[in-house]
Symmetry: C2
Subunit: 297 residues, 2 copies
């Protein structure tokens, strides 16, 4: 479950609330494409904006539409008690694995983050992936801490943010982390623009926002990586530069993917939970052009 | 209500959950000292770690013990919908004012933060203070945005983080912001080590973590500021350098104030909601020494 393409769909939230039919349409693209896993309620899945009953419902819908594809559910919250309740809910609806980001309000210390994971691992029976995303959680992991947490029974993967852009530096970075991890704990790349470099550097899985909406496009890349076709991986990612450029332009992927989902007719273009707001009409038009010209699918 | 000393108590959360008797003991220090307002469920009040029913209960307890002192309730949440529900709850229990930090998960844009405040102001009938705390919310206000929001009817104060350490620069900074604000909207300083400089630079209120536990000590400073005794304000704050040093040493005030509340016997020294953890025994001993030697009260 912690290899290949892990597709992270967005959770459309329109003026009328959670758009369940839209979410199901997004899920169906992922299952049709044959992703290796589905990561629901990640950052782009807007978990931070949704209440516990909504998160439980969304995980249940994912499970009921995923067929044989494992579903990984993010259980992030600033409160440890709430993380445990969310983990209970996710397990109740059949989550195959959990993803835990150490979301901070007060800046967390290393022993506090270790304690958070230790508490979760004592509480749950499904495997867990460490979600390292300093841009949203505001916590910077050291490799040493990753290694310490990864030795807790049940930890199976580490989702890292981007890698250095140089292939050599990226390989050094991935190998340095890998040397800290027990056998069987995979490293997954996120930060879609880094995916090719990360996969070529030894990451075994792409935790992919792109794959949440354009799973066929993303799967070409992970399939090429699985065959060891490093140059092809780079070429396929290079072709997507206009998409990575949109992510940079709009300070991240979420507003771009929300607009793209609307452009594809899967939900509305205004499908972000408030206070987040949709991009301007001209920005959405630019996104529509990129989706069409790159034939993203 | 938006002048003088606004005391921000911590919310003790022990292994057994919210420590209501401990919280009441902390409130009683504030009311006995005659603070000008009480700001409950601020950052040090751990609002981010508490659930909606807990937050409503804590606001209600504050109201029932505050006597004639106005109670300001923080209604921060990453979700606008949740902010509105929290505001309803706070108004229901009699909150005299609300405090809103633009808590971010995805980095917010200026128009999104304006939209958040606009939505709140259309929803509530009590006055609101803008809570500018980039260290925890991850949103940096511009003065222009402060001014735009402050013109919404019902906005009555802006709580700013520290000011420049030079008195001249601090005065320029406060005057620049003040020139953007409508008549009657006060500026309040937070970041306790900056309080003296901020008050002398023209801030009309100290939103004070120190005042949440040591209200007599803090009130000496705001009283001196109200009398225009600038040198005395500086002297009183200089005397507290060991306390400001502890805040710096421990990456903020919350863990220090939690330890101090335990040292004073008001609650347990382990009174932080997980994943936050108490400081070490030796750190707590150092805090006890500072509380005693400075005669903080």
């Amino acid at each position: 479950m912690f290899t290949g393409l892990s597709a992270f769909p967005l959770t459309p939230v329109t003026n009328a609330g959670f758009d369940e039919p839209g979410f199901v349409r997004i899920l169906e693209r992922i299952t049709s494409a044959g992703a290796d896993s589905i990561g629901v309620l990640g950052s782009t899945g807007s978990y931070a904006y949704l209440r516990r009953p909504q998160r439980s419902r969304i995980a249940a819908i994912a499970k009921s539409h995923a067929g044989n594809i494992p579903v990984i559910v993010c259980v992030g919250s600033v409160s440890t008690d709430e993380v445990l309740r969310l983990a209970d809910d996710a397990q109740t609806v059949g989550a195959d694995a959990l993803l835990l980001p150490p979301v901070s309000y007060q800046t967390l210390r290393e022993d506090e983050v270790f304690g958070l994971f230790e508490t979760l691992m004592q509480h749950v029976s499904v495997p867990v992936c460490i979600y390292d995303n300093p841009g949203t959680t505001r916590f910077e992991f050291s490799d040493e801490l990753h290694g310490r947490i990864a030795r807790l029974p049940g930890i199976r993967s580490v989702k890292i943010p981007g890698v250095p852009s140089s292939p050599v530096d990226a390989r050094v970075r991935v190998q340095r982390l890998k040397s800290r991890l027990p056998e069987g704990v995979t490293i997954g790349i996120s930060g879609d623009a880094s995916a090719a470099t990360g996969l070529n550097a030894g990451c075994e899985v792409w935790y992919s926002v792109c794959g949440g909406l354009f799973p066929l496009t993303a799967k070409e890349i992970t399939d090429a990586a699985a065959r060891g076709e490093h140059e092809r991986v780079v070429q396929l990612s290079e072709r997507l530069q206009p998409l990575w450029g949109l992510f940079r332009k709009h300070g991240g992927s979420i507003r771009v993917m929300a607009a793209a989902a609307g452009v594809l007719g899967l939900t509305e273009t205004d499908c972000l939970p408030r206070p987040l707001r949709p991009l301007s009409a001209s920005d959405i038009a630019e996104i529509a052009t990129v989706v069409s010209e790159l034939n993203l699918k």
